[in-house]
């Protein structure tokens, strides 16, 4: 009997442990997606998409109203010009959904597309009445937003790569899309013709940034790469100490970006050089008697893009700390130690009016709002 019990207990333990590691509808599978309009923050975090009132941090609605074990959300919610909230699911139902907000009620699904097998990681991009949605199956799906059908079909499916994780960027004429399988691709937004396709030899997780008529992107080859948008000519302009994850941010003529070892870089577009030696943003600035301790592991990755605010950048780190970094490289914990959200921050913070929104993973609350001085205004935690 004891053998039987042991065996069944082990089987049960295996079920629990395996279930705990799967991509089911659970929070914490990966980091949340965050975006905002003037009044509302949109957060994707596991089984739900949340809409939160920016005035007071109260929940306006969530989708779906009941947890579904088929839906899992972490793409950055994308708000179209007519107010639809576009989110892709990463669950067994890998649908792209267009949610139509309806006050405080659960939004209706204006349209959906369930024709992909793979999950959605990247946010789409709207240009005029076209929506360009990259999927991790490597295809770029183009939708006509002017049609009103509920069961929407793409007007074009472009096979570009094997894995697309980054939102496209545009100069108004062409789309520039980076792929996890090492390529930077330029596509004519109207004819869908692939203009050039350049292999960098290593993965790219982020979108490029258009600055001074060039494209810049960081890669897993630990390089900052520069592209000529006209023909794809490219070169590595600077080395980094580790993989670059997030899109660089631009202030004046300087690009700011981090790597997964916690180093922050400032690259001058005119000189082609770093403004200062990389700053390592580690949580050793924390006072030892703090009640809010940093993550004890050495996890200090910077996966989020630095957020440009006036003449400084805010850098959210895996240690749960947010740093304010000036153009001269001086840096400090933003708002002081007691204001830090904790948890692990991988998601790029969002500036919404005079609020900075931060969505940590594994913190007490799901979303924190700060004023521009780094003082917490409210925190949002779902009731259930």
């Amino acid at each position: 009997m004891s053998k039987k019990f042991l065996f069944l207990a082990a089987a049960l333990l295996a079920v629990i442990l395996l279930s705990g590691c799967t991509g089911g509808s659970v929070r914490g599978n990966t980091w949340p997606g965050l975006s905002a309009t003037n009044d509302v923050a949109y957060l994707t975090d596991g089984p739900f998409v949340y809409a939160i009132n920016l005035k007071d941090g109260t929940e306006l609605w969530r989708y779906p109203d009941q947890r579904s074990n088929k839906l899992l959300f972490y793409t950055t919610p994308y708000v179209t010009s007519d107010g639809l909230v576009i989110v892709g699911s990463s669950g067994s139902d890998a649908s792209l959904l267009a949610l139509k907000p309806n006050g405080n009620a659960t939004p209706t699904v204006a349209w959906s597309y369930a024709g992909v097998k793979y999950h959605w990681v990247a946010a789409p991009l709207q240009i005029d009445d076209r929506l360009y949605a990259p999927n991790s199956d490597g295809n770029l799906y183009v939708f006509d937003l002017s049609g009103g059908q509920a069961d929407k079909q793409p007007i074009k499916v472009l096979e570009l790569a094997t894995d697309l994780w980054a939102q496209p960027v545009t100069d108004g004429k062409n789309l520039y899309i980076s792929s996890l399988d090492h390529n930077m691709i330029a596509v004519d937004k109207d004819t869908y013709q692939i203009l050039w396709n350049e292999d960098l030899g290593s993965a790219i997780t982020s979108s490029p940034i258009l600055a001074s008529d060039n494209l810049y992107v960081g890669s897993f080859a630990s390089n900052l790469e520069k592209f000529d948008p006209a023909n794809g000519d490219h070169a590595s302009v600077q080395k980094t100490n580790d993989w670059v994850w997030g899109t660089p941010s631009l202030i004046d003529n300087n690009l700011y970006f981090g790597d997964i070892s916690g180093n922050l870089y400032s690259y001058n577009l005119e000189t082609g050089k770093y403004n200062w030696n990389p700053i390592t943003l580690k949580p050793d600035n924390w006072a030892p008697n703090s009640t809010k301790t940093p993550d004890e592991s050495k996890a200090t990755a910077i996966t989020a893009s630095p957020l440009a605010v006036n003449d400084f950048v805010l850098v959210a780190t895996e240690s749960g700390a947010i740093y304010k970094v000036g153009q001269d490289g001086n840096h400090e914990l933003w708002g002081g130690q007691q204001q830090q959200p904790g948890g692990k921050i991988y998601t790029t913070p969002v500036l919404a009016g005079d609020l900075v929104l931060v969505a940590p993973m594994t913190a007490d609350a799901y979303l924190y709002a700060y004023d521009l001085n780094g003082t917490q205004k409210w925190a949002y935690k779902p009731a259930n």
């Binding site: 053998k3 042991l6 599978n29 088929k70 097998k117 030899g201 993965a203 993989w243």
Partner: protein, 273 residues
């Protein structure tokens, strides 16, 4: 500690994938080769399990054993102490057939976690992968990302299913061929290892019979729900298990037939007046 274990598994898995050349199907082949490696490492454990199961089975037909079962049927404490005495006398470890099986559960879980970590289907997974394989130094993970997860008709990062055009809510990925093969091979393996019994009240045989039904269902459900890389591991492991039993002459092929696990009952001699 557990993380180091996962990292080691992930590194070996990726190293095999790298040696194979990183192309289509190679991650599936890497899982198969890795499973063979795991089976070789755990070969002594499995051999011990077979030996233990066989010894326990023989014990059920032992005269002394049967005697104490009858004699102390109402005195559990005494029965237990007598059972321990017989175990000691015959040099049998009562958990000898069970512990090796239990040890394999962490290996299954670690393998599952290393497969999902290597496939890195989410941004967080990819970040973890960068830390999993790099501590061991000799593998350049950067050149391996993203892994080619295609294997035959499957994507090893997704539950397996052959599209069949039917909308069945609990089978969103289609016809679950691999889950069925997992359940079948688990059943066959369990049946082959069940020794024939002549004792109808044999608790051990009853339990083995029950497990031969539970385990296929459990592993079949795993294969249905989790990424198909795990199902590839289960099938390879089951086939290797069957091979090992056959090699050691322990496979009881008659058990695959209905009623095949029963030996003819020994008739008690008729009492004469």
């Amino acid at each position: 500690m557990w993380n180091i274990f996962i990292s080691a598994f992930t590194t070996v898995l990726l190293w095999i994938y790298n040696v194979l050349g990183q192309g289509p199907n190679m991650f599936g082949i890497a899982i198969i080769l890795f499973t063979i490696l795991i089976r070789l490492v755990t070969w002594p454990l499995n051999a011990q399990q077979m030996k233990g199961a066989s010894a326990m089975q023989n014990l059920q037909n032992d005269k002394d054993w049967q005697e104490i079962q009858k004699k102390y049927a109402k005195d559990k404490e005494k029965l237990a102490s007598e059972q321990m005495r017989i175990y000691r006398e015959k040099g049998i470890n009562p958990f000898g057939s069970c512990l090796p099986t239990l040890i394999q559960f962490p290996i299954i879980i670690a393998l599952y976690q290393s497969i999902t970590r290597a496939l890195a289907t989410t941004p967080y997974g990819l970040l973890q992968l960068s830390r999993s394989a790099s501590p061991f130094g000799f593998l350049n993970v950067t050149s391996l990302i993203p892994l080619n997860s295609k294997f035959l008709w499957m994507d090893l990062g997704l539950p397996e299913g052959i599209p069949w055009g039917l909308n069945i809510s609990f089978l969103p990925y289609g016809f679950p061929l691999l889950a069925i093969i997992v359940a079948l091979t688990t059943y066959v393996q369990a049946k082959l290892t069940m020794p024939a019994t002549a004792n109808p009240g044999d608790q051990s045989a009853a339990m083995s019979n029950m497990m031969s039904l539970y385990m296929p269902l459990l592993l079949g459900w795993f294969a249905l729900t989790f990424p198909s890389g795990l199902a590839v591991y289960f099938i390879t492991s089951n086939l290797l298990g069957i091979f090992q039993y056959a090699m050691q002459g322990k496979a009881n092929w008659r058990n695959l037939l209905p009623g095949g696990n029963k030996q003819p009952q020994i008739q008690a001699p008729k009492k004469t007046k």
